[in-house]
């Protein structure tokens, strides 16, 4: 195999920061090349250099593509040569159809008049290739994230792609959709499309990649061949963080104290389609010091369960009972839910958890302002003290608590959200995907925080799509499917296979449920 792409000694400096320091990347023709690294390691910067977002001349080093020296002055130059990036945040127009999105800016038109017949015919072909069976006229809005991802890939294929770059393509996908996407990547490889995948998920990397390049602190640490080298996930992790993480899940003694929270017969209907039941008679218990997991596929209703309990923030026609310490509590508004001792750490920290334009300090105190104020007047000094305390306790890496949270990395942002909810002094914290999109080192810190919460006798409910994480962290795991809690496993009983089989048998046993949707 000859190399399709060689990036030699790439150095990119921003005022005061060296984002890339002498990075080398060689991608062979027809392979899938994985790039791993912690958040902020420089992966995205490297891809921006490659695609011309940072034009030639603003960085040092050389890019050789297809045997030629490449000097891209913008993204159109790189696309013309078949280099196409699919970003983590999808760039589709929600209210346009699949076909319109695929040919956006590249319309099948003569003299400005669109040839819809040709557009639809080509779209159907492309959708076949990516295995998406939706009519080309479907609005992108009505597709799930997994299918939208496929539309993006179809769009890339429409441009005669030679080098496809996928930035964290499975971050928002369910297990099932992720597998489908990885299969598609292997199929594209068979058709000769060279691909670069940026991913945090090492099992995926091992599954599809031919080579792995690890970047740390803006420099290449290692490049491995998955076929010839002996690659283990631990080795990749070690290279990424620069130290041994002998145990990815810090151990915690099993503690289950008194009963803290009991939810019974919780039912919720969809906010718009009122005949559609989203949560079906869910009941669960959380004891003091316990970490309870909720496993399930994307769309099984985990987030909806949590949000409907937390101040009825989701759904309508909600019924059921919540008890804290055996006494029934009212959680019908967020304020009351907080008062009852609940906290909900959202899965979508940027749009639901943080005020990005505000400082760490102001975000930290937001859910419990009365604690830092008297007669409605905020004591700025007290507020700073509180924020500073959490900055140290959580190890939030920032020069000061007066930084805007938008300037922080994902892991540090998540710590700010956690600080906010810890400061509201809850008894039970519901953590929805607490480690999504954050790097290995920060994950470990989040796990440690969860353990210390358990130590303080708080109850933790952990919702996660990453089964190893649930298995590694939880004392008990509830399995959720189609809006119902279909099983409960203790840490000793639980395994990925058992959880999956509970989900699968549930579907087989009760086909009526699926039909009702």
């Amino acid at each position: 195999m000859t190399s399709l792409l060689e990036m030699c000694a790439i150095t990119k400096e921003f005022p005061g920061v060296k984002a890339l320091d002498n990075v080398n990347l060689t991608v062979a023709r027809g392979e899938i090349h994985a790039i791993c690294g912690e958040n902020g390691a420089g992966k995205s910067t490297l891809m921006k250099v490659l695609s011309g977002v940072y034009p030639a001349g603003t960085y040092d080093g050389e890019i050789r593509y297809d045997g030629q020296t490449a000097q891209f002055s913008d993204i159109n130059d790189s696309e013309a040569l078949g280099i196409i990036i699919i970003h983590q945040e999808l760039a589709l127009v929600p209210l346009l159809s699949i076909a319109e999105n695929i040919f956006l800016g590249n319309e099948r038109a003569t003299k400005g008049v669109v040839d819809w017949r040709e557009t639809f015919r080509m779209t159907t072909d492309l959708l076949d290739k990516v295995g998406l069976s939706e009519p080309p006229g479907t609005l992108v809005d009505s597709l799930g994230v997994g299918k939208q991802q496929l539309v993006e890939i179809a769009k890339a294929l429409s441009k005669d792609v030679k080098l496809l770059i996928l930035d964290e393509p499975t971050a928002a996908l369910s297990e099932h959709d992720s597998q489908a996407l990885l299969d598609l990547m292997l199929e594209l490889k068979a058709q000769g499309v060279t691909q670069i995948i940026i991913s945090h998920k090492l099992n995926e990397v091992r599954r599809v990649a031919d080579s792995v390049t690890v970047i740390r602190d803006g420099a290449t640490v290692s490049t491995m061949n998955t076929h010839t080298d002996d690659i283990t996930e631990d080795r990749i992790v070690r290279d990424m963080v620069g130290r041994d993480l002998s145990n990815r899940y810090p151990p915690r003694p099993h503690r289950a104290g008194e009963m803290l929270m009991e939810v019974d017969d919780w039912s919720v209907w969809h906010p718009e389609h009122k005949d559609r039941q989203v949560i079906r008679n869910a009941s669960f218990r959380v004891r003091a010091g316990e970490v309870v997991g909720i496993a399930g596929l994307m769309g099984s209703g985990r987030t909806e369960l949590a949000m409907s309990i937390f101040g009825r923030s989701y759904g309508q026609n909600i019924s059921g009972r919540v008890r804290m310490h055996g006494r029934e509590v009212d959680t019908s508004t967020v304020g009351r839910a907080i008062g009852a001792g609940l906290a909900y750490v959202t899965e979508d920290r940027k749009s639901l958890g943080l005020i990005l334009e505000e400082t760490i300090q102001k975000n930290t105190t937001l859910a419990n302002l009365p604690s830092v104020s008297r007669h409605g007047i905020i004591s700025e000094g007290e507020e700073t003290r509180v924020a500073e305390r959490y900055r140290q306790a959580m190890n939030i890496r920032t020069p000061s608590v007066f930084q805007k949270v938008m300037n922080l990395s994902g892991g540090n942002q998540q710590k700010v959200v956690l600080s906010k909810w810890l400061f509201s002094e809850p008894e039970v914290l519901i953590l929805d995907e607490p480690t999504r999109g954050i790097d290995v080192g920060a994950k470990f810190e989040i796990y440690n925080i969860i353990n210390s919460l358990s130590e303080q006798g708080k109850g933790v409910v952990m919702i996660s799509s990453e089964m190893p994480e649930l298995l590694g962290m939880c004392d008990r795991i509830y399995v959720m499917n189609e809006g119902a809690l279909v099983g409960e496993l203790t840490a000793a009983e639980a395994s990925q296979e058992r959880i999956m089989s509970m989900i699968v048998t549930d579907v087989v046993d009760e086909p009526a449920l699926g039909a009702a949707e």
């Binding site: 909900y344 005020i355 937001l366 302002l369 409605g376 000061s400």
Partner: protein
């Protein structure tokens, strides 16, 4: 430890860095002063004559009072296009109450403010609880209240009013020192204000240092304090040379201080900024976002009513055209003052300075005899330039 390093970085000759970070805040003040000096020169000193300074306050008081409410509405992520019409309507209502129905002044003022609150509640209800975009609700309000003023006045002007009502706008604080001219009250108030500014500034610096917050370099602090207090005392001295402190200036200053305090130091204010910064996150933090939105409009309605009363008192008559187009001046003032179009940021003091910039431009150009045509063009360009400057700064960062 990191904090200490941070502080050192601030002390160590990073004046330029600090300035570039806070350029917007200083820029606004510098712009106001530069504009004043410019017009002072080109109008041969007319701008800063005591009688004209007094006029500046009288002419702009209602814009500034409405800008206080508008800032809050804009910070909360909305807009109010109806304030000009509402203030016209309230002026008309007050006129009809006093002149046609013979109501006493105090009852008229209370009823008018109450009507303003109801109007704000009406608009806030649709925006907050039905999620109808404020642009639409207040555009409708703009038409409705313009129409209602016409109907109420039957197309005529109604006036004049009793002296005690006129005093709302054109009255002056009596001189308790008996000095006469220069007016002793104004001088004393000037001295007290300067002392207050210095004392509050120093106290803030001490607090900042205590908690390791970012510190304004001493040179800037003193330069700013000296310029601000100097300008303030100069203005007070000039006012003393005419008839002293206008009543309306006192209401304006008091309201500005109250609103600055509410927005910067209270939980209520903090929650409004949070609401504008990210409504969903605020809601999930237990903040009653609907109620806050509602209250922002109620407050706006009340301030628009107060502005309507002051405007009617100043003209000594209510006309169907009163307040026409004022919403644009008010909104422009808030944006010139640095508020963000998407909500979540902006300061009361910025809105007030923004309103003064617009006011001095209006006044200066009128003295120069520049036609209303060019005046509009220039004001429009100033607004665009100010917002461009914001966006440019943001992109650079």
């Amino acid at each position: 430890m990191e904090l200490a390093e941070n502080k050192r970085a601030n002390d160590g000759g990073s004046l330029v860095q600090y300035l570039s970070k806070h350029l917007r805040e200083y820029g606004l003040l510098v712009a106001l002063i530069a504009i004043m000096i410019f017009f002072q020169v080109v109008t041969d000193g007319t701008l800063l004559k005591p009688v004209n300074i007094t006029n500046l306050f009288l002419q702009n008081s209602y814009i500034i009072i409405m800008a206080l409410g508008m800032l809050i509405v804009i910070v909360a992520g909305h807009i109010d296009l109806s304030v000009g019409s509402v203030m016209g309507f309230i002026g008309a209502l007050a006129a009809v109450m006093m002149v046609n129905w013979g109501w006493p002044v105090w009852a008229t003022i209370l009823a008018s403010l109450g009507a303003g609150i109801l109007i704000g509640a009406w608009q806030g209800y649709w925006v907050a609880y039905w999620k109808i975009p404020a642009f639409i609700v207040t555009l409708a309000g703009m038409l409705v209240f313009r129409g209602l003023s016409l109907w109420l006045l039957e197309g005529q002007s109604v006036g004049p009013f009793e002296r005690s009502f006129q005093a709302l706008s054109t009255g002056f604080i009596p001189d308790f020192t008996g000095l006469g001219r220069p007016n002793g009250t104004a001088l004393v108030a000037g001295v007290i204000a300067v002392m207050l500014i210095v004392w509050l500034g120093l106290r803030q610096r001490i607090t900042n240092r205590k908690y390791g917050m970012e510190e304004e370099p001493a040179a800037f602090f003193w330069a700013r304090t000296i310029i601000v207090s100097g300008a303030l005392f100069y203005v007070m001295y000039k006012l003393a040379g005419f008839r002293g402190l206008p009543n309306v200036m006192i209401s304006m200053v008091v309201l500005t201080l109250i609103y600055a305090f509410i927005t910067e130091n209270t939980t209520l204010g903090r929650r409004i900024y949070a609401l504008g910064g990210n409504e969903k996150a605020a809601k999930l933090s237990g903040i009653k976002t609907e109620r806050l939105t509602f209250l922002a409009f109620v407050n706006m309605g009340m301030l628009a009513a107060l502005a309507g009363l002051i405007f009617a008192a100043r003209l000594n008559t209510a006309t169907p055209k009163a307040g026409f187009g004022f919403e644009l001046d008010v909104i422009a003032a808030v944006f010139i003052g640095g508020a963000s179009m998407s909500g979540g940021s902006g300061k009361i003091i910025g809105a007030v300075v923004g309103a003064f910039i617009m006011g001095v431009l209006n006044n200066g150009m009128s003295i120069m005899g520049i036609g209303i045509d060019y005046q509009q063009v220039i004001k429009g360009l100033v607004l665009l330039a100010a917002v461009f400057f914001d966006v440019y700064q943001k992109n650079k960062a």
